[in-house]
């Protein structure tokens, strides 16, 4: 079983690495923001698999924290991207 799961971890990490290359190259900030989401899914899948392989059930707790805070990081990116876009951007006025 562990051999199978180890191969799966390798696979999901390879996909994560490929995706990261694509996402980090941009061109825009929106592309890079996806990195948080990509790691939030692929990374968590790898983490959970590694936890089962090593018998560390605390890996699930780490995954929970990661899921919560990857969202937070993405929200912070969005906040920042919006802030820098606002001065020149087509911001609709508040009612």
């Amino acid at each position: 079983m562990n051999e199978f799961l180890t191969v799966m971890v390798g696979l999901v990490l390879a996909l994560l690495a490929l995706g990261l290359v694509r996402v980090l190259r941009g061109p825009g900030d929106a592309d890079r923001m996806m990195a948080a989401q990509l790691i939030g899914t692929c990374g968590i899948a790898a983490l959970l698999l590694i936890g089962v392989i090593g018998g560390t059930s605390a890996a699930i707790d780490v995954a929970l924290v990661l899921a919560l805070l990857a969202t937070f990081a993405a929200a912070a990116f969005a906040d920042c991207a919006r802030r820098t876009a606002q001065p020149g951007g087509p911001g609709p006025e508040a009612p």
Partner: protein
């Protein structure tokens, strides 16, 4: 019984990997930011869900199994929000360039 549970794990995790693969292939092949966003959020969500379901039989206890499901729910909520935030950022970038 244990063999059956292992089989469930193998089938589910493998199926999850197919979706992760689809997500990354989409990420590499799709032409623009917003279509890539579709690939990333939709395929990977299901991929993670299947991996989580596959790992539940391997969890040591009921609590760990439920925690695994909580991880997935959190990620679903996250991607529902993050995809909107990214889409808005991409739309703004598209407008200004």
């Amino acid at each position: 019984m244990s063999v059956l549970l292992d089989l469930v794990t193998i089938v589910m995790v493998s199926a999850g990997m197919v979706f992760f693969l689809a997500g990354t292939v989409g990420l590499l092949r799709f032409p623009d930011t917003l279509t890539r966003l579709h690939a990333l959020t939709k395929a990977d969500n299901i991929g993670l869900g299947l991996v989580v379901i596959g790992l539940v039989p391997q969890a040591g206890s009921l609590r760990d199994g439920l925690k695994l499901l909580c991880v997935w729910l959190l990620v679903l909520l996250a991607s529902a929000t993050v995809s909107q935030l990214v889409a808005q950022a991409a739309r703004r970038e598209g407008d200004s360039s």
